[in-house]
Symmetry: none
């Protein structure tokens, strides 16, 4: 079984070279290529489920929508997809922003040379995001030079009894907050959208609110998530 890969780069020749490198490895299938962030997101929407890439190799500087924004939105819309930055830029801000945006790995084009495929495969075996040695070193130095500091925050205890919601209601609440519609929630839980709606109305009553947005606020305020 092979792994679906997406490639986002504004230079067509880069895409092709990379694609050939990956195909040569014969573990990988390139199911999506795009020239920038917008292009990528649009193509993701239209893509068949079984072709959804498990890994997206993302360049950073691109016209239209850059890689950081694409990763931000992409990692939100497709949490299962691992975004790996593949770029020539190694300045600290770019690294930091990309990581914050949700990048799972960060590879340098020149450093990684021919073994991008190897590093991606290693990622599958270890579960750890692939990072070029030079980048790892930069991050380490950022920590050393006090540009990064450890902020202790021991996640407040999750409130177990959130307004006496039933298990089902909690389940639905979670999906509701994620932005799903009645119908979509129903599909996930294998029940009717009408039923979901009924549950949601019950939730509203218990929480004394009357819209999804209010629910989200309340949930966030109470550190439900």
């Amino acid at each position: 079984m092979s792994v679906n890969i997406g490639i986002v780069d504004d230079v067509a020749s880069n895409r092709n070279i990379l694609k050939n490198k990956l195909l040569g490895h014969n573990h990988f299938e390139v199911t999506l290529t795009a020239a920038n962030g917008k292009d990528f997101l649009k193509k993701m929407q239209l893509l068949d489920l079984e072709l959804l890439p498990a890994v997206v190799l993302m360049d950073l500087e691109m016209p239209g929508m850059d890689g950081v924004d694409a990763i931000t939105t992409g990692s939100f819309l497709y949490p299962a997809v691992k975004f790996v930055v593949l770029t020539i830029f190694d300045d600290e801000d770019k690294i930091f922003n990309a990581i914050k945006a949700g990048a799972f790995g960060y590879l340098l084009k020149d450093e990684s040379g021919e073994n991008i495929a190897d590093m991606l495969w290693q990622m599958y075996e270890s579960g750890a995001g692939p990072i070029s040695p030079g980048i790892a070193h930069k991050i380490l130095q950022m920590v050393q030079h006090n540009e990064l500091t450890l902020t202790h925050k021991p996640e407040a205890a999750v409130q177990k009894t959130f307004f006496n919601l039933t298990e089902r209601e909690n389940e639905i609440l979670e999906l509701l907050v994620e932005g799903l519609m009645y119908r979509e929630i129903g599909a996930r839980l294998f029940i009717s959208g009408n039923t979901v709606k009924k549950h949601v109305m019950n939730i509203y009553n218990k929480l004394h609110v009357n819209s999804r947005i209010q629910v989200i606020h309340l949930a966030h305020k109470k550190k439900f998530f």
Copy 2:
């Protein structure tokens, strides 16, 4: 010309195995071995200058004086020496502390397997500190999970670069997230509800979402508030 290496580990067999591995590479000369931090510092004092190690492989948990303290003192006394942690511990606190103490690299005993010598040699060619993939991944996650934050350039940068929204759009976004309807937002800003709607649609396009709930989720995730 070969490179002088120091090995600090409380387990004698570890020292020997490691030593043999390095000697097998024949780039390296092991000129110092020690069983703990204190032992290491004492031997460094007595060592001939030409035998001073360029690299010290340092275990972390040792009786007497541990690796972190040894690195702290050692990197102060011998700034030219590169301290590379070589341990089985991969918990975040240990990693962070070791790096802060001045570690130039961080290798995991099990992960690095036989190629510790390779990674050390690579360090010489690239000038970058050797870091095990698993450790790099851990650090990356620490950054991602806000346990590490950029201190010199705080919150402002994150907020300002929220998807290139215009001032007006940001203004409307805030009210939108509060749960107001188009009409209500319009009333607050003294513009038409229709106009608000147009702005909101523009925001959706820029953020690549298509509902208020998704916007809120994204905004919260990216710490817009």
